[in-house]
């Protein structure tokens, strides 16, 4: 403990996101050694402009977006970015999303980087296309390019507007056959560079507007199909058969037990077990009727109530200090006072509204897969690995579907469908059940945060330590790109490949002696575990910020500072400070040292306010929570959330507001009600009663969002950044109201009542 472990590898992984963003085109050119041909379709080349957009004879623009839109408006926002740079009407842009034959692997929904990374890449492609088209028009119209203007896909001579030519007349239906500089990366780091500068934000006409999402209208009129709505001729319906005890595998299966169900069949390969039937209800009946003899399994899990004690005492598998300055031990030794605090975060399920569902049609000449996984290209890679077929023979068609918010069960269901279709030689639709989705989806993991601070005689904070310990975020990979990363693959014998990954959100607090890092402990079960960890929305946000931002308030109280003043004193980045200052201002923040001293202590209902801050990539946020605490029942009601939000350039302000509001509601659920429960054998929170998500009566009724305008700054992401602040802001507000520090999530009435009674 306490040694500096800042290897080069760690440094790069901790800051790589920013390094790539700033890399010069020359660096990219050198790095571009791998083949630019897409492994999922070698007819697409990442160094060709044609792989990013095309213009047809009618002037319609197809944009090839190699990732997905989880219903948060990326389809519209990225279309706006492209339309802006290309100077075409938004209505002429069509987004082709996540189709592995038509798009390149640009990663997942990862880190809410759809706009900041992939949107920006596509803007660069659009700017290059515009330049080529203008140069071509200049030749055809026999004028200099500088004498041309473009409006709505029509290029005309500035002083003679009648002299014009359209994009479609120049390129319609033809390819650009123009190179872009690809950075040699697939997935999230994928990017391109060109020599064409982007427009100045002052000239934007489409960016900054708030067009509505076309797919939402389809959903409202019942027109939007999801993967589960795909019906293929001869398609069978499947249900996976899972054990009641984790780790148990099927020893024998009684075929007679489902004989009375017309057309029902069993698929049993190694430890993989499913039932299929031509009619969906018959598959459900077969699942319920099937008699299986399972192997004895004694997982002997520490229960969800014991898991934090387990994390405290389990062997540390990796310790990484992400940021360190000064000498922490010296700082603590010099301090007049040392305070410490521990914070526990529970295990969460993705708990998607729709359980995993996918359709697969695997034939001798290739596989067609319909899925709403967040990472369709990786799904194609994983299916090729699982079925042992070439990557380019797998065509994954991504469709809008249930909100996934991380690697939920969609990818596992997709792998199940592929195995079944290959085995049966027919198209197969797999639908996971509710208990299966909560029980067997990959999980967001529990952690414990250990915090301490040293304060000198003057009340200055001179030393700070945050160590977050928990399960790795990658017991299975964050995508299903290898057979070993799926339940199906593991049940069929692929060896699991767990990794130790963890991360601590960056914060610009500056102390003389500072150490921030993490420690992982080993998985609770090696193979096909219902508790296997992976990314759940904002994987490093709520679990760690709950500790770090509550502890900042503990220090503020210890040094008799108002929580906002404390942050403004120790934060150093101007955009951080601005977010904190504006959130406080918009909330009408009452300045005081917490807890408040002006309350009637005999009152059942007390109110308080708390703040929390974070930076996530180049998004800077502060959240004020106002809560009402019912002392008798322990109920904590968030009455008002106020968010100041800086993402740099804003593409679509209304959609941005929607995304922030929705995630603050979601974050409230992950603060006040959600907790996965399990016993020695298996997950026990298997329905919406035992795994509660937020219902209307617990939703914060007032949410105020202030968007900080910074159009000169590059756009960052928004879709998971704010939610991570809810636990700490609410916890700090409860402390302000009651003087009691809540140290574990969720803030259930039982837990709060017990804490108040102490």
């Amino acid at each position: 403990m306490g040694t500096l472990d800042l290897s080069r590898r760690t440094f790069l992984s901790a800051t790589g996101a920013f390094v790539v963003g700033l890399a010069s085109p020359d660096v990219w050119a050198q790095a571009a050694k791998p083949s630019p041909l897409s492994p999922n379709n070698p007819n697409l080349s990442a160094d060709q402009l044609d792989a990013y957009l095309s213009i047809d004879k009618n002037g319609k623009v197809d944009v090839f977006y190699g990732a997905i839109d989880g219903g948060q408006g990326l389809e519209t926002a990225i279309a706006q970015m492209v339309a802006e740079e290309l100077d075409v009407p938004l209505s002429s842009v069509r987004m082709i999303m996540g189709d592995t034959r038509r798009t390149l692997n640009m990663g997942g929904a990862s880190g809410a980087q759809g706009v900041s990374r992939r949107g920006t890449s596509l803007m660069k492609a659009a700017a290059l296309a515009r330049k080529i088209l203008v140069e071509e028009a200049a030749k055809k119209l026999r004028v200099a390019p500088a004498d041309l203007v473009v409006h709505a896909g029509i290029i005309s001579v500035r002083n003679n507007p009648a002299k014009q030519i359209t994009y479609s007349q120049i390129i319609g239906g033809k390819s650009f056959q123009t190179n872009v500089r690809w950075n040699g990366q697939w997935g999230n780091p994928h990017d391109i560079a060109t020599d064409v500068p982007l427009k100045n934000y002052k000239d934007y006409k489409i960016i900054g507007q708030s067009p509505k999402r076309p797919e939402l209208a389809k959903k409202v009129f019942g027109e939007q199909d999801f993967p589960g709505d795909v019906r293929l001729p001869g398609m069978l319906h499947a249900r996976m058969v899972r054990p009641a005890v984790a780790g148990a595998v099927p020893v024998s299966v009684d075929e007679q037990s489902i004989r009375h169900i017309a057309g029902a069949k069993i698929v049993h390969i190694k430890d993989f077990l499913a039932v299929v039937a031509p009619k969906e209800w018959d598959a459900v009946r077969a699942l319920r009727a099937l008699k299986v003899t399972w192997s004895q399994s004694e997982p002997n899990f520490p229960t969800h109530q014991e898991v934090h004690a387990h994390i405290r005492k389990a062997k540390v598998t990796q310790r990484t200090i992400e940021r360190e300055n000064g000498k922490l031990e010296e700082g603590l030794a010099k301090a007049a006072r040392v305070i410490s605090g521990e914070y526990e975060y529970p295990t969460h399920s993705h708990a998607s509204m729709g359980p995993g569902c996918a359709v697969a049609d695997v034939r001798a000449d290739g596989a067609t897969i319909y899925t709403s996984t967040q990472k369709p290209h990786y799904a194609a890679d994983g299916i090729a690995d699982l079925l042992n077929i070439p990557r380019d023979s797998v065509h994954v068609i991504w469709m809008f579907g249930t909100g996934s918010y991380g690697r939920n069960d969609q990818g596992d269901a997709t792998a199940d469908a592929a195995v079944l279709s290959k085995t049966l030689g027919k198209p197969v639709r797999v639908q996971w059940m509710r208990e299966e989705s909560l029980g067997w989806d990959p999980k967001g993991t529990a952690s414990v945060n250990f915090c301490q601070a040293g304060i000198d005689e003057k009340g200055d904070v001179i030393a700070y330590e945050l160590i977050s310990r928990g399960f790795s975020r990658e017991n299975v990979a964050t995508n299903e790109g290898r057979a070993s990363a799926t339940l199906a693959g593991q049940l069929l014998g692929a060896k699991p490949e767990p990794k130790n990954t963890f991360n601590i959100p960056f914060a610009s607090y500056t102390f003389a002696h500072n150490r921030v890092g993490w420690e992982t402990v080993g998985p609770l079960m090696d193979r096909a575990s219902p508790l296997r960890s992976t990314h759940l929305r904002d994987p490093y946000g709520p679990p760690i910020l709950f500790g770090s931002e509550c502890f900042m308030d503990e220090i503020a109280s210890a040094v008799n500072l108002d929580p906002v003043d404390f942050r403004l004193r120790y934060l150093t980045h101007p955009r951080d400070k601005e977010a904190v200052r504006i959130a406080a201002e918009k909330a009408g923040w009452q300045k005081r040292v917490s807890p408040r001293k002006d309350l009637d202590t005999s009152s059942d209902i007390v109110e308080g306010r708390g703040i929390a801050y974070r930076r996530h990539f180049d998004t800077f946020i502060a959240l004020v929570a106002e809560v009402r605490v019912h002392r008798k029942t322990g109920l904590v009601e968030p009455t008002h959330l106020v968010c100041a939000h800086d993402i740099g350039l804003i593409i679509n302000p209304e959609t941005l507001r929607h995304v922030i509001e929705r995630q603050l509601v979601y974050g409230t659920g992950r603060t006040t009600v959600e907790e996965l429960t399990w016993d020695r054998h298996m997950v026990t929170s298997l329905d919406w009663n035992s795994y509660p998500v937020l219902h209307m009566q617990h939703v914060p009724p007032r949410i105020t969002i202030h968007l900080i305008e910074r159009p000169e700054a590059e756009p960052s992401g928004a879709a998971e950044m704010a939610l991570g602040l809810v636990p700490a802001a609410m916890g700090n507000a409860v402390f302000d109201a009651t003087g009691v520090r809540l140290r574990k999530i969720p803030f259930t009435p039982e837990y709060v009542k017990a804490s108040l009674a102490v």
């Binding site: 939402l216 209208a217 009619k279 459900v284 509710r434 603050l664 009663n689 219902h695």
Partner: protein, 155 residues
């Protein structure tokens, strides 16, 4: 024993063959009749994703045996209105851009439409009460309330 049943869905009568009278209505709608809007969320009547109107009453089709329908009129979200003649709540829902993924949308819109029918000018508290038993994983709760209030105002 297989038996024939005629269901009245969105104003059309269609006959299906049912092996198991206990089969929930949801499977008849989706699997036999190809209506995609009601969705399987839990099969337990806990979430609302499968909601349809049965004689105007919001009903969780995952938990209602198909044999219990009789001559009742079933309306799905698709039957609530369409682009040429939208239900006021559909218009308001788009104005408010309520949902993100929209997997839960049937429960919210069918409950909201039923509320507006029995109480055309609900208070905010009444709307929240009407939505008390629904789930939305994306956190669209407040937006759904705004949409109902907007539809009520414009009616």
């Amino acid at each position: 024993m297989a038996q024939k049943m005629t269901l009245n869905v969105n104003g059309h009568r269609q006959t299906i063959t049912v092996d198991d009278p206990d089969m929930p209505l949801l499977y008849a709608l989706r699997d036999d009749l190809g209506f995609n809007n009601p969705r399987f969320g839990c099969g337990l009547g806990q979430c609302g994703a499968c909601t349809v109107h049965v004689d105007g009453v919001p009903t969780r089709s995952c938990s209602l045996p198909v044999s219990a329908i009789g001559k009742a009129k079933i309306t799905t979200l698709h039957g609530l209105g369409h682009r040429q003649k939208p239900h006021p709540l559909q218009t308001a829902w788009i104005e408010e851009q309520v949902n993100q993924c929209g997997y839960c949308i049937n429960g919210w819109m069918m409950e909201g439409a039923a509320l507006l029918k029995r109480n055309p000018k609900p208070t905010e508290a009444q709307v929240r009460e009407a939505f008390a038993d629904l789930i939305c994983r994306c956190g669209s709760h407040n937006a759904a309330v705004r949409a109902v209030l907007r539809a009520a105002k414009q009616a």
